[in-house]
Symmetry: C3
Subunit: 155 residues, 3 copies
């Protein structure tokens, strides 16, 4: 890791920067998708969000749980649980100076797997589509963590 | 991005460091707020947390769901969904060498919007206060992501 | 923070890299633990995950909530709420050039506290084991944040 400083200028770091931003943007879109479903289906978590309804009775009825909204929210939480580790481990991995082709392989497969995961989750595609997409993403993060720990272990 | 190395010493990076730490600390305070509500209202998620009650019957009754605790928890989750992307994209943005004034504008508006969001959520202020605060924060992150992708795209 | 650039090559940064990777891997194992409990106890959140059951009636019954699965999920969410702030603040802290011994103390105590927290949560150990582990982790992050803000404040 002696040339780490130069790594931050490298193509590997630029590639990390690009793919990390794309996959984080994808994660943030889940917020907008949740808002979209909440507004079109009129399903809210907070009484103050229901101010388009007229009577207090009507408003209370809109504070409810909807299966489609919950599905999007589970997908969003799964993104948090998987994309955040990818970003952290990926940053450290990029600083270990891997081959550009190997790094691109990791980043592309991970980002692809998370897009497939989202489509599979939101559209409720038959399993094991979603499970495979989840597993591939996990494997990529483990593979990068392995390189970080074998290149730069300092306990 | 050729002078990225120097960026990590820059005032932009110091500013990022400061605002990221402040907004992460704000997020961590949600944990303490949840604990505070759980203890003062005696509302718990786990049976082993209720050991101040005497009988087993009394203890089981304390494992319940409370609207105020859930409100703080939703606010905390919303922080995770928005502040973590800000930190990741903000770090990469700081490394692209933006103008200090432009960077400060992004960081300050984001951090301000999240403080307003928290107050609006916890105190259940009338909408669209919370929705606007959420939207402004999202817009700031998108704006920084735009700069990262236009400055340093490497697919 | 003038020599920050050299910090990224330092032993402190290597130590951060190692401990951050370890604790993120621990967090990711919660996903696998959730999957394990879901499969062994046959408890699912989505209808499409129940395709091992034969009839539609049987499948609908498997979409349910189980206390053990929820316990692991709460532990996972608590990890997200605490480990992600540690990683962000820890990275900035490592760049402020702290003493190696002090940095190692912070990293080791934090990672140890989160392993104890997980064991205490999943095995439902009597309190205040879990509360103490949580508190120690929080204190470490606050201590690192204090150094970041006192070393590199730029508002």
């Amino acid at each position: 890791m002696a040339e780490t400083v130069h790594m931050i200028d490298s193509e590997v770091f630029l590639a990390f920067s690009t793919y990390a931003t794309i996959v984080i943007l994808k994660m943030m879109l889940m917020s907008l998708m949740t808002s979209y479903f909440r507004l079109t289906k009129q399903v809210f978590s907070n009484l103050e969000d229901t101010n388009l309804a007229k009577t207090t009775e009507d408003r209370k009825k809109l504070v409810r749980v909807d299966p489609d909204v919950e599905r999007v929210r589970r997908c969003h939480l799964n993104d948090l649980e998987n994309i955040v580790p990818f970003v952290v481990i990926g940053l450290l991995y990029a600083l270990t100076g891997p081959d550009l082709s190997m790094a691109l392989l990791h980043f592309r497969v991970f980002v692809g797997s998370r897009f497939i995961h989202t489509v599979a989750y939101v559209m409720a595609l038959p399993q094991p589509t979603r499970a495979l997409a989840f597993g591939v993403g996990l494997f990529i993060s483990f593979s990068m963590a392995y390189r970080v720990l074998t290149t730069a272990l300092f306990l």
